[in-house]
């Protein structure tokens, strides 16, 4: 496993198991300084959850509680399991992620899909299954990157573009609202929006006062 600190992002590559990341979490957290706003995992082929249920739950909870944006990226993410895909906030690839029509998502998986892709995408999936369509379904899970040999640079450019033009405090304020949304609980996001809005307003007012 390789860990590299970029500008606002830590890149973890050379892994095929989320458990390895979980077991090395202290080492990873050593890289997560105050400027770090994202962790990007670039798997070697597939990326699996531990087979042991308790270990899988621990790993899932670890990722859900990370206070940075979580990104998974690969030229093709097709070898990554659906449950791992939807554990990440953002999924980047050169090709979309396909679901086999023979494999119908569970209620919990559909909830993840809706959080990742929105209501319209969820409705499209429901219609596809309801129509008894065969073959594969093109999901909206992946944000497509322009093809480039240097995937890491490509990913870093994407991430930097999100955070550009804003300082760490403002980026963290926005990020905290999105982190609340990981579990799909509207009320907690709404509350965090208002809290962070007023903190940013206060800072804006303090800055203006200092300038006067």
């Amino acid at each position: 496993m390789n860990i590299e600190r970029k500008n606002h992002c830590v890149v973890i590559s050379g892994v095929d198991s989320l458990q390895i990341i979980f077991l090395n979490r202290e080492r990873i957290e050593g890289f997560l300084n105050e400027n770090c706003l994202a962790v990007a995992v670039i798997p070697d082929g597939g990326l699996q959850l531990p087979e042991n249920e308790n270990e899988a739950l621990e790993t899932v909870n670890y990722f859900k509680k990370l206070n940075v944006l979580t990104v998974i990226a690969s030229p093709s993410l097709q070898e990554v399991s659906y449950d791992v895909m939807t554990l990440f906030d953002i999924r980047l690839s050169y090709s979309p992620y396909m679901l086999d029509s023979r494999r119908v998502l569970s209620c919990e998986q559909k909830k993840s899909y809706e959080i990742c892709c929105g209501q319209k995408a969820m409705n499209e999936y429901d219609r596809y299954i309801g129509n008894g369509s065969e073959g594969t379904f093109t999901t909206k899970l992946v944000s497509l990157l322009p093809e480039n040999e240097d995937l890491v640079s490509n990913v870093c450019v994407y991430i930097e573009n999100l955070f550009a033009g804003k300082d760490i405090y403002q980026n963290r304020s926005i990020l905290s609202c999105f982190i609340c949304a990981r579990n799909g609980e509207r009320e907690s996001v709404l509350r965090e929006e208002s809290c962070r809005f007023y903190r940013l307003i206060k800072r804006k007012a303090d800055i203006s006062h200092d300038e006067i």
Binding site: I90, G118, S143, G165, V189, E193, Y198
Partner: protein, 236 residues
């Protein structure tokens, strides 16, 4: 029933309420705008036997969003009374509730969008059940470019409508997107040519009232698809 002032008109045509925003500065959302908006929403909530509500801009634009400087000043003055980070002012809570309450109205709420639909304007639209965008529409949540973030449900609702990553791209970057892009990410439900969104909204509301026995706002997107299929269309 009519309501007509320099900021809004509210009319009713064949059981369909039409709220038209006609405030100065392309519906610049000042404190006065929000006060009038809350008044008109409280009137709408009292109405019964309504087939649907259409929200639209009276001129070329849906809304250019909040007047950021005056919003910052008003909000900064509210800070003095806040006992802690979650002790939001009554004004903010009422304002937010008046936007989000659109979601809970028991009939179709359709925003018809032309021109700019940005900031708090976008927050009103995204809290509607359906968004019909004309091809010239430009949508966005540019609050991050002003040093703040969307505070009236824009983050929560954009995530629900478009998904986490599309919403992250919109909110973090503050970039305006085209109507076509809005459709691709799920923000827009229907695209129309210029000046056709209102008629489309009326037709959609009439179709829902005729074909759907018990309206469920969570299924509004599904109704749109059925409506378009009935028309023999997928979309432009």
């Amino acid at each position: 029933m009519k309501y007509d002032d320099e900021y809004f008109t509210l009319s009713e045509e064949n059981g369909i309420l039409v709220m038209t925003m006609q405030a100065p500065g392309n519906n610049l959302m000042t404190g006065e705008f929000f006060d009038r908006y809350q008044e008109i929403i409280s009137q709408i909530r009292k109405k019964t036997n309504v087939k649907g509500l259409i929200i639209k801009g009276g001129g070329r634009h849906f809304s250019v969003g909040a007047d950021v400087e005056s919003l910052s000043e008003r909000s900064a003055s509210e800070l003095l009374d806040m006992k802690n980070d979650y002790d939001f002012s009554c004004g903010h809570t009422a304002q937010k509730e008046s936007v989000l309450c659109l979601l809970e109205l028991p009939y179709p709420v359709v925003s018809t969008i032309s021109g700019f639909c940005i900031g708090s304007g976008s927050e009103i639209a995204v809290s509607s059940h359906v968004r019909i965008c004309e091809t010239n529409a430009r949508i966005g949540q540019p609050e991050s470019t002003f040093g703040i973030l969307p505070g009236l449900g824009g983050i929560a609702r954009t995530i629900e409508v478009c998904g986490f990553s599309a919403a992250a791209e919109m909110v973090f970057t503050g970039t305006l997107i085209s109507a076509q892009k809005a459709y691709e990410i799920g923000w827009a439900d229907i695209l129309t040519e210029k000046k056709q969104s209102f008629d489309e909204a009326v037709a959609l509301i009439e179709w829902i009232n005729k074909n759907i026995e018990k309206y469920d706002n969570r299924k509004a997107g599904c109704y749109v698809v059925e409506y378009l299929a009935d028309k023999g269309e997928t979309n432009i």
